[in-house]
């Protein structure tokens, strides 16, 4: 299938592009300011359009050619309008980027942290003799803070940590996709994800989290492995590949 995607700052559709190419579809990026809508549609002849803001020219092309559309709301939230049917997918992870892989020797640690400073994280950093590494855009007032990492740095941290403290639903799903265990001190985030079928352990006490890491993950390898497998199962429906499959099914 020929897919045309509006090139939007922030690389919003990068996950879909990799999923589409892996599924054997033809994916073309369209820079609206360089190529007018009519030329792009004439040249590519798309069957599916990924867009953010619909212009009048685009709407006309879509109506004339009978092209199905997918509208991106945010980086990880998409609304699909296929024919007259509306669907929505939230918290999608790019499994072509965030997946199980080799442990990174420089980032190997007991607890990885990829969230803004919070009381639980600060207590862990200051009160326990465990290896902690922090990668986040916002600085932490602790010695374990390594800086703001790129997406691939964060992926390496997730792959190399036994447990990762997060406060964002998308990051939690990425951690699971990398084969690690996300935990959070953000109750709202935990509840939000639970509504979407993903369980992220909630902790507000540093001792309890330390015990969870020490006794369940480290001391009992089998139990830790089973927990990781259970978490992996909850990922179903939260990857770009799954979302693309839903779109294709609805198109047919």
């Amino acid at each position: 299938m020929k897919i045309l995607a509006q090139a939007i700052p922030g690389n919003t559709y990068a996950g879909f592009s990799r999923a589409a190419e892996a599924a054997g579809h033809s994916w073309v990026w369209w820079e609206e300011r360089h190529t007018p809508a009519f030329d792009a549609f004439d040249e590519i002849g798309p069957e599916l359009l990924f867009y953010m803001d619909m212009t009048r020219a685009m709407q006309k092309c879509v109506d004339v050619d009978g092209v199905a559309t997918v509208q991106g709301l945010m980086d990880d939230q998409f609304r699909f309008i296929v024919g007259d049917q509306g669907l929505q997918c939230n918290y999608l992870v790019d499994t072509h980027m965030f997946n199980k892989g080799e442990v990174h020797p420089a980032l190997f640690c007991d607890i990885g942290i990829a969230c803004a400073p919070n009381p639980l994280g600060l207590k862990l950093c200051n009160g326990f003799a465990i290896n902690i590494k922090i990668l986040y855009e916002q600085g932490w007032p602790t010695t374990q803070y390594l800086g703001a990492g790129s997406l691939s740095d964060k992926r390496d941290l997730y792959r190399s940590s036994n447990v990762v403290l997060v406060d964002d639903p998308l990051e939690a799903i990425r951690v699971i996709a990398c084969g690690s265990i996300p935990v959070t001190s953000n109750k709202d985030m935990s509840t939000t994800l639970l509504k979407h079928g993903v369980l992220v352990p909630y902790y507000d006490d540093a001792h309890e989290l330390y015990d969870f890491h020490d006794e369940i993950i480290l001391a009992n390898e089998h139990q830790g492995e089973r927990l990781r497998e259970d978490l992996q199962k909850t990922l179903k429906g939260h990857s770009y590949d799954d979302a693309l499959t839903v779109i294709m099914e609805n198109l047919q």
Binding site: G139, Y145, A148, G149, S150
Partner: protein, 166 residues
Amino acid sequence: MKPTINFLVDHIGASHMAFYMIEQAHKLSEQGKANVSIFYDQLHRPCRRVMLPTMLMVEAWAQPGVSIATSMSTAARLLSFPGPQHKLFYVWDMSWMNNPKPYGPATQLFRNPKLSIIARCQAHAMVLENNFNIDVEHVFDNFDHTKLLEAISHEQNRKTEEQAVA
């Protein structure tokens, strides 16, 4: 044979680091235990009288012996110098913690296998080991010249053993 020891510093102006580095370098030189030189990046008025050869950093490029970097910038330059047989990094401060910063450059520097790390104290060593997953073998404060000679001797022996194995 006396070892040649080269200190690479940002400057020898008024600072805690420069004061102790010059003091310990004098001791090494006075006791005849090493041929010591200091290479600086920026020209400052020395914080104390220097009775040793002091030169611009560019001169350290082909200087043989043991070169000791004292900051991240001098360590990065030391790695590109072909002259020194042994490259050490005396981590005087935790400058990489200054925010904001990107992740990567500090990790690449501290994990470079050509560089042997020396920490000032056990607390610094723990931070280095935690953040970069490296083993800090040498820990001593204020450039203690006897410990420094021990560390240099240790590094020389290790390199000899590695060459013998190879």
